[in-house]
């Protein structure tokens, strides 16, 4: 559709504001999970100490949700209007959007009809879909994952075969009739087929590594070979093969998407040229026409200025296609940010001072001072390690911190003097510094105001929100945080740190997929395992007696806070299972308390999060780093390279 109204709607829909509003609505509907019953508004999720959470009255979250759903309906109608009915029927994503929206509405109405007492909220499971369909990158990533599924399945099959063969071997090996010790291996890990399979599955993640071999290995060294061979083949070969397969699928992923976006941009430029040149009879583009258009489009201000400048300097002749293209290449260039000029002082003394304090050696001195401050804090931490906090003497540390904060203040002011306020703030590291210095200053002044000047044996009572000790502690933490300013000063570390920053920029799609997976599994877990774990008998305020629980069990390790009783707790529990270490404890506890089928949930989560997602993440890091490395190493202009490849 090319009529004026559609164009206006298109512009408005894809403008920054409306996209931002859409993102906010998605965020809002996703974050409802924290508030809805069971709400996560308790200070702890430990079932022994947990207080009754505040539950929102019926209609509050439902009202917000209804508004969100209405917004999505509007979004869908605009989208489908823009793509047209013919496209809409073909687009699976839009159709799914419609279905999900209708299902959510129906479920929402059922909820309201039952006055929020419904046993199951299906729509909570569907919510992550809104996040998914709004990001084209995430859809692309999903497609990539789908492509690598067949090969991943082959490795998974190999893994399953490996697991089964070793399980049968183990069952036949550890039967132990004569000996008490060998029998312990059987009784603990190889009692029956499902248990043996679980033991070896956990060993595949190395989470029960020495333990599973201990009883057998204590009897005979040779049994170690069985376990070592299993881990070697399973964890080292097959798991890494999975990584290789996933990485292979994502190789060139970044380059390809970069190429595609560049290609689309060039195509757009060319189309614009054709349109503009048609007004002047097809021979070229008049500079005035271009200037007129440029004045009306919304793009980044500084670059637009540069391009318009260039167009003006071109004179009144016609622009050829090549020149036109080159002009627009200006938009692709990375702007090297220019710092505002430093203020100019007349007096030679001030000029010398400006040179001194604007020099990078002054930065180094600052870094050194921060380091000294850190060392002083370290020393005090080491000295005070065995003294209880209330007996610590904060006199000297207080004085030290005061002195250092004064130095930071002086440094900031001198730098502002040397570079000018805008010049100072144009460096991100300075802005970071300055912010922390101001916060530290405010903290120090409020400490002085509340507790007075420091003196020997200075241990005032607590006044206001924070005790003196807390104030000092907070100041120390901020100083530690301020220390991070040294990162850009070290060349090698700066490269690595900038890679990480680039990575974070590129991995929004991966993060989004992680959010979707976490969300879905947390909601499922909430429905399956809510209230399954029951607090042990005993007074909440006293540490309950856990002497009776066997070592290594959920109860003995006091994992009470890791449960599925509310959304936030479920997220942390899922994180802990994803990190894999000790996940057999959760496996065992939930198997005991809610049945053996719970294993399926945990194993699925392990596969999705720890196996697939972590490997995906590794692939992304490899891709990003090698991409960057290639650019640095071969010094070839990527853009020029691409030009050659698609022309």
């Amino acid at each position: 559709r090319m009529d004026t109204r559609s164009m206006w709607l298109y512009r408005w829909y894809y403008s920054g504001t409306s996209q931002w509003i859409l993102s906010f609505i998605i965020f809002l509907i996703l974050s409802l999970a924290f508030i809805e019953t069971p709400s996560s508004f308790t200070s702890t999720s430990d079932i022994r100490y947990r207080t009754e959470p505040w539950n929102p009255p019926c209609g509050l979250t439902e009202g917000v949700e209804g508004l969100c759903l209405l917004a999505f309906a509007a979004d869908l109608s605009v989208k489908s209007y823009l793509v047209g009915w013919a496209q809409f029927r073909k687009s699976l994503w839009l159709l799914a959007y419609l279905v999900v929206l209708v299902a959510s509405f129906l479920d929402w109405m059922v909820s309201l009809g039952l006055v929020c007492q419904e046993p199951l909220r299906l729509r909570r499971l569907l919510r992550p879909f809104f996040l998914l369909q709004n990001s084209s990158m995430m859809k692309k990533t999903l497609k990539c994952i789908r492509w690598s599924l067949p090969e991943m399945a082959s490795v998974a099959l190999l893994l399953a075969l490996h697991l089964c063969v070793f399980t049968m071997f183990g069952m036949l090996l550890f039967t132990g009739e004569k000996d008490d010790r060998q029998d312990r291996e059987r009784l603990t890990y190889f009692r029956n087929l499902p248990e043996a399979l679980t033991s070896l599955l956990v060993l595949l993640t190395t989470a029960n590594n020495p333990d599973v071999m201990v009883p057998a290995y204590s009897k005979n060294r040779a049994y170690a070979i069985f376990f070592i061979a299993f881990t070697l083949i399973g964890s080292l070969f097959l798991m890494n093969l999975l990584t290789a397969i996933i990485y292979n699928q994502f190789r060139g992923y970044l380059l390809k998407s970069f190429q595609a976006s560049l290609f689309r941009r060039r195509l757009g430029t060319r189309a614009a040229y054709e349109v503009l040149s048609s007004t002047s009879g097809g021979a070229g583009v008049r500079a005035q026409d271009l200037l007129q258009v440029l004045r009306r489009v919304q793009v980044d201000g500084t670059r637009k200025q540069v391009v318009m400048e260039r167009v003006r300097s071109h004179g009144s002749g016609l622009l050829s296609a090549d020149e036109f293209q080159k002009l627009f290449n200006e938009f692709d260039k990375r702007v090297t940010k220019e710092h505002p000029p430093p203020p100019e002082y007349r007096s030679p003394f001030l000029q010398t001072a400006q040179f001194l304090f604007g020099h990078r050696y002054f930065d180094y001195l600052g870094n050194l001072i921060v380091l000294m401050n850190l060392v002083s804090i370290c020393v005090f931490l080491a000295i005070d390690a065995d003294i209880l906090p209330r007996d610590r003497d904060d006199f000297i540390l207080g004085i030290f911190n005061c002195v250092f904060v004064l130095y930071y203040l002086a440094e900031m002011l001198l730098k502002v003097f040397a570079l000018g306020l805008l010049g100072y703030l144009s460096y991100p590291s300075n802005a970071f510094d300055g912010l922390l210095t101001v916060v530290l200053l405010v903290l120090e002044i409020s400490t002085l105001a509340v507790y007075g000047f420091p003196h020997q044996g200075w241990k005032p009572e607590m006044k206001g929100l924070l005790s003196l000790w807390d104030m000092v502690r907070l100041a120390n933490m901020l100083i530690v945080f301020r220390f991070l300013r040294i990162i850009p000063s070290m060349k090698l570390m700066a490269v690595v740190a900038s890679t990480i920053l680039d990575l974070i920029r590129n991995m929004r799609a991966f993060g989004g997929i992680l959010v979707v997976v976490y969300y879905v599994f947390a909601i499922i877990g909430l429905n399956l395992f809510r209230g399954v774990i029951v607090a042990p008998p005993g007074n909440g305020s006293l540490a309950p007696d856990n002497g009776s629980a066997p070592c290594g069990s959920y109860e003995q390790l006091e994992y009470w806070a890791n449960n599925f009783d509310d959304f936030a707790a479920a997220l942390v529990t899922l994180w802990n299972v994803m990190v894999v270490n000790n996940w057999q404890v959760f496996l065992d506890a939930y198997q005991r308390l809610s049945g053996p089928w719970s294993k399926i949930y945990f194993v699925l989560w392990w596969l999705l999060s720890s196996v697939i997602w972590v490997n995906l993440f590794l692939a992304l890091i490899l891709e990003n780093f090698l991409h960057k490395w290639d650019r640095r190493g071969h010094l070839h202009s990527l853009s020029g390279d691409l030009e050659a490849s698609y022309e």
Copy 2:
């Protein structure tokens, strides 16, 4: 040196036999570590049950070692004679070889002089050097590792910074004065700086993941953010960045070494051409000359035949350089192994039978039967899980196995009939099958011979070496093993499996480096920690009371067998630390029993094995797999590609 004697020596030295002898001597001197005091010849390394090991008399291992050292001296002298004095002085490896050899001899003499009572055997540490210097691939890999050291150091620095900043944060965060629960976090994990550092270092490997956050998280949900942020940045970002750096260094490693060897070969061919053509006046090579030379060189028989055939067919004209090169390309080609022709039968019945049993559907039937056998074993394992082995009735399983083994025998014979004996053996999968079938048959027959025919309630007493149950068990294990023959039949799995096989071929250098690192660390560990762990009081045959040990400690987990009291035990202990899970238990135990400096040893081992080596291994897998993938996917002849790149 080009004189006849040197040439003869060169040929003899690089012949298969002498290189094999050298490898064997290296293997011998390395394996001495198992025999020398403290010898590893006990059935278990568990200090509670261990018997006094047999110790070799003084002079036995020393004698073998002396012979080995003499052999190395001969090897060194031949090598240095062949490279010449000028080259020798420049080659660091040869100089180091000399130094190591002299040091070993001196140490050996000291040993003999002290009648094997010396406190420290320095030369045991030096032994892996002999392995290292003998393999050019390992030297190359080491060089690769050295190149990536600067970047690895930058990430390590970042990791250290990350660790330090979070340690200080943690120390300032977990001071807990008012609350008993928050104080538990401090007392357990953040008592003082070294302990906090250790806790977070272990968390970096995720080995104490939920535990370290449990006390704080039980108090307030927000504390989880600290630990999650730490793991996210440390384990996911920085550790994977290390992987990326190592992989980046090893990218193209295989391709490069392949290129280099091809290039050297081409260069050699060209040189041979020049030499041969100079005899005929420089215009070309006479075919007779080439045939004469070919007759005298030692290369693979079948290929030589092919090349000589081609030379003869060329006639008596002169060979140009191009033709000469093409002839020698024959040597680069992969020979596709030809199977011997099947026997030809006259009778049509026999021909039909041959067609039937030579068909691949007959293979599939065999696979199906193996699967059925496996299922039957599984069923019996599941049924008998809760019955003690001595009460199990093996009657039905015995009959089943008998029937299946008879089928396997029939299958083997029919296949031999269809393909001929040589044709049958020319397939590796058939050879594997046949071998296992024969072993199974022997086992079944000996079972019959010893215990007679099976009958209901068949539980004979033990006769000979193995009881009936053990015999059946062994047969079952062999059947499980035989099941692996299905792997090549499944296409996707065959690709993955062949990648793994390729990998094993390519990773000898990596394996060698692992052996070197393990050897050195095991010897150091032996010297540092031998006898540090003392058996708990109590009778060895009774399970000692471990109720008093705190949960999660070395004593409670009964890791007694994981110690450094002999070489084999040290290897297993190092493996367990390398797998990382629960390594904090070893860290803690050795810190308690031999001092805080022991941490350095374990952390160094973790860095070398788990961080560097495992990443190296992953890089190798990625490299291999992608290499293979490229060849399969793009279908470009690598050899042709290389030709273009170096010409």
